[in-house]
């Protein structure tokens, strides 16, 4: 086998491997999005649907926890009667409110605004109730509507 043939062969092999690799990568580029589409990846659901914010056990009864959804901070409260979710942004000047587990009230740390567990104003300067979000538990997962 001449030197020219050896060079041609290695060049041919190289081209062959390059094309095979390219075909595999191209196929992967087609298949991966299809798999992603078929699998129910609720965490990656588009804003507007229900978003998984954690396991039910992550929210102990009587406690409140803040989660982030669409750039907004949401206060999730787990009461004995069920879950409730409100925008954590106070309607007065926009401070983030907290759930007071002992008093069973939502309190604003900045200007002493207090809200009921249904989001309505008890006292203080907030002019209106906290915005409520739809929250539900599906198969042990806490789902929040965006």
């Amino acid at each position: 086998m001449s030197k020219e043939n050896q060079m041609n062969l290695s060049q041919r092999d190289f081209l062959s491997w390059l094309l095979k690799g390219g075909v595999i990568l191209t196929l992967a580029g087609f298949i991966l999005p299809a798999i992603t589409y078929l699998l129910p990846l609720t965490r990656q659901a588009p804003v507007g649907g229900m978003v998984d914010v954690g396991k039910k056990e992550d929210f102990p009864t009587g406690a409140g926890r803040k989660v982030i959804l669409g750039g907004k901070v949401i206060l999730v409260i787990h009461l004995a009667s069920g879950f409730r979710a409100f925008s954590a942004t106070c309607t007065h000047l926009g401070c983030l409110v907290d759930w007071d587990e002992k008093k069973r009230q939502i309190a604003c740390p900045c200007h002493a605004g207090f809200f009921n567990s249904d989001g309505s104003v008890i006292s203080g300067p907030p002019p209106r109730r906290l915005m409520a979000y739809v929250i539900t538990v599906v198969n042990g997962r806490v789902m929040l509507s965006a």
């Binding site: 041919r12 901070v73 954590a88 200007h111």
Partner: protein, 402 residues
């Protein structure tokens, strides 16, 4: 058609009958019918409390002389000094007012007010009595937006007297308070934004027991709404001075009727009213001021950074949420500064700064990630180009003549 006409006749007769019933019990209107329209909208008329409840006399008698018999308790136009007593004859009667759910301590409160003391103790007849604020023949419920004592109308009601230069001069009181109030942050919120929660005259002075808050209970008056400020002020070095009556609390820095939006300029203007420039307390004040200014600067810078990152196409949901935390920290400093506690304020500022740094580092990382992705994209393009060249080469190999 006939049914409609019949119904109209019945309604007309019913109205006539009820008016006839009222007229029979309240013959005053036979002669004083010019008051009828005014009174028909009043809460008293609706509750069938008629003229004689305030003016005395006997409305059941149709003879004017007998009805106006002073021997039978006819009062006529009541003298000013007895008006609170006339109103109090019902409104201070617990049994009578119980079912209306109205407080019954108004007369007792009025006696303690500067108005009441002027009337009852000093015999002044140019002080406000019930009818000056509530109206008389056309009195409506306090919750009625047309009531002179509805929150939106209170400044105008008080201004009738407290904006009257001649009257106020007689009592040695300023007459420009209503004008000052209109320019204040409270006045603008109430009168321009219709914010019923905003403070008006009675919020600080009381209504029936109206009198100006004294030096050491100003913080209680302001603290009814500004709860956190009151709490933190009571922990400050100024609190003991206020208790001793040497420091008029909130109004020392914020003024009283002409309260402006609280700004950091207060540190530069008001502290010097009491403190010398060489005073160490003033230095501490300027350190607090620097921390507050820095907090505002950090919040603005972070907000701008997050906004720009969003414009540049980065997903900044987490950073927006963190920004809300920084915003909360900055707003918390508002009431906290009333402690004038440099250590506490410094600690709060440090927390705020940490969160601000976290936002900045997250955004910087996202910009770096995007830069990396751009490099990967260049690599992918290079790969595609290489593939195209390989295919072209292979095509040439197959089409080369043997």
């Amino acid at each position: 058609m006939l049914i409609k006409f019949g119904a109209l006749i019945i309604i007309f007769c019913a109205a006539k009958f009820s008016w006839a019933q009222i007229a029979a019990r309240n013959s005053c209107l036979n002669c004083h019918n010019d008051y009828a329209a005014m009174m028909s909208s009043s809460i008293h008329f609706k509750e069938q409390i008629f003229c004689n409840s305030c003016h005395g006399g006997n409305p059941a008698l149709h003879d004017q002389k007998s009805a106006h018999d002073r021997q039978r308790g006819y009062v006529g136009v009541p003298e000013k000094k007895i008006i609170p007593l006339i109103c109090g004859s019902c409104h201070a009667d617990v049994e009578r007012m119980n079912f209306f759910g109205i407080p019954t301590d108004q007369l007792a409160q009025y006696r303690t007010s500067d108005h009441g003391k002027g009337l009852f103790q000093k015999g002044m007849t140019d002080v406000a009595v019930c009818t000056d604020c509530h109206g008389h023949h056309d009195v409506v419920q306090v919750g009625d937006p047309n009531a002179p004592v509805y929150p939106l109308n209170i400044p105008t009601t008080c201004e009738q007297c407290h904006g009257n230069e001649k009257l106020m001069n007689r009592h040695g009181l300023p007459f420009d308070i209503p004008e000052k109030y209109k320019k204040s942050v409270h006045g603008k919120a109430l009168l321009e934004k219709n914010d019923l929660g905003s403070a008006q005259c009675v919020s600080c002075h009381g209504s029936h027991g109206a009198h100006p808050p004294r030096v050491n209970n100003i913080v209680s008056a302001c603290g009814k709404c500004h709860v956190k400020e009151r709490q933190f002020f009571s922990e400050s070095v100024h609190a003991s001075l206020a208790e001793a009556g040497k420091f008029p609390e909130c109004i020392s820095c914020h003024n009283n009727h002409e309260i402006k939006v609280a700004s950091l300029e207060i540190y530069e203007q008001m502290c010097l009213k009491c403190h010398l420039k060489t005073d160490p307390a003033l230095k501490r004040g300027s350190q607090i001021l620097s921390l507050l200014q820095d907090s505002e600067r950090l919040l603005k810078a972070s907000a701008l950074l997050v906004k720009q990152a969003g414009i540049d196409g980065l997903f900044v949901e987490d950073e927006q949420a963190l920004l809300e935390v920084v915003n909360t920290n900055t707003l918390e400093l508002g009431p906290l500064q009333h402690t004038l506690d440099l250590i506490r304020i410094s600690k709060h500022h440090a927390d705020l700064k940490n969160k601000n740094n976290e936002i900045n580092s997250l955004i910087v990382r996202k910009y770096k990630d995007r830069h990396l992705r751009t490099l990967v994209l260049v690599f992918i393009w290079a790969f595609i180009l290489l593939m195209m060249l390989a295919l072209w080469k292979r095509y040439k190999q197959y089409t080369r003549p043997k």
